[in-house]
Symmetry: C2
Subunit: 233 residues, 2 copies
DNA sequence: CGCTATGTTGATCCATATCAATAAGTGTGG
DNA sequence: CCACACTTATTGATATGGATCAACATAGCG
């Protein structure tokens, strides 16, 4: 694996506290690979052979059952994914595909489990990462069960405005609307109508460009809660 | 804390590999407490002061937003809960209440974090526990998004038959129907109707007593998948 | 420039929630 | 141990959120 990636991986919270020795050992047999869009990286049910690190591009986590499919999450650089399956040496519960041209690092799961066994620091970092992931999906579950699809969209827009839009009134949706619909648990047609239904609250849509004219008004409708919408807790 | 509980706690996967020294240290300031039914143990949003271990009884994890409430999980002995909040020293994302007379052990979160920092074995056990919890809620999320309420009920019955019923055709629901409805993400009235809708597949209901007359038939409808329904992976 | 996938809009259908009334449990105190 | 009160469960009627189907518009992309 090219040296130029070392620093980037090193900077991830999961690896930052690792000893040099463990870090080198972890990278044995790792490799970097580029993928075009729409390539399936992981099929749910397969055994966990690699821990993935997304270096550039975007990856969608999704699941299927009985001919239906739902988008579970969209991964942005630089992030690891499917850590839980790796440390448990269990099958993947979600599938993954690239949504755009992406560069990924593949760490042999075997390495991760070996270093995890021998390096206490690494174990602690994994705990932090897993706890974060756990709490993140708890919030998603709460949102799914407690909010209507319109409320989910309104809160999503507020979160995305803060996260990707830097708080500005205008920002771009970071994914296709059909995938956003699936992520929010609704049909694509419904998302179109939901956007219209938010017009009275000052939401304007032009393609993927969103304008929130009156954030206070939208917040009054969305009623965001830190215990669902705050990514940092 | 009475010595008689030591063995029971020790037997939990989370603590079984702990050194005696760490274990003693962990129990400093811990105490055992009995609670009547319907007592709120945890309010979501509060800071994590204790790691809870349920010794007997049952505890419901639930969440609220905007005047609505949903049941997230029901904890059965002997299990710890809210581990993620404890290790992250973060606020609780879910509330907890007893559903029946329950006995709990309260371990100061401070202890858990201290031992976690110093005892590599404990860190590894926490990883396993968190990874398990993470995968468990991923399955729940998949089920919520991919299945209708009738399908969720059918699969729930099959899981419960295997788990609590030991595979027998007859078994008792382990909770009130209103709570089951909330857990499955439906209104109580809908659960009643859903039970009726499963009659053609051989499901009989008498109070909390469930009889599955033709498991193959019910399975053909429910289409259980290990990637959603198998608790052991 | 035209093909194909995505997005929008309208019409309709279906699943599920809500409202209302009754029935059945469950627990409590006399 | 029974009677009352209160909660939970069921059933029916209705409303509604959201899905589906179909037609069309639009936008990417080769």
């Amino acid at each position: 694996m090219p040296e130029r990636y070392h620093d980037e991986i090193r900077r991830l919270p999961l690896f930052s506290d690792l000893s040099d020795e463990s870090f080198i050992s972890l990278l044995q047999g790792a490799y970097v690979q580029n993928f075009p869009p729409q390539i399936t990286l992981i099929d749910e049910g397969d055994t966990s052979d690699f821990l993935y690190i997304l270096v550039s591009g975007a990856v969608e986590m999704f699941s299927t059952w009985n001919g239906r499919e739902t988008s579970m999450d969209t991964i942005r650089p630089v992030t690891t994914f499917i850590l839980a399956a790796t440390v448990k040496d269990a099958v993947y519960l979600m599938s993954a595909r690239t949504v755009e041209k992406s560069r990924l690092i593949l760490l042999p799961s075997e390495n991760v489990r070996r270093i995890f066994e021998t390096d206490a620091t690494f174990a602690k970092c994994i705990v932090t990462e897993l706890a974060q992931g756990y709490r993140s999906i708890v919030k998603t579950s709460k949102e799914l069960k407690l909010r209507t699809s319109l409320e989910r969209l309104a809160n999503y827009l507020l979160r995305e405005q803060a996260r990707g839009g830097g708080g500005a009134a205008e920002f771009d949706l970071p994914m296709e609307k059909r995938r956003l619909a699936s992520y929010l648990g609704m049909a694509p047609e419904n998302l179109s109508r939901a956007f219209k239904a938010l017009q009275p609250y000052g939401v304007e849509v032009a393609g993927s460009r969103i304008t929130i004219n009156d954030e206070a008004d939208l917040r009054a409708f969305a009623k965001p809660s830190p215990l669902i919408d705050d990514a940092s807790i």
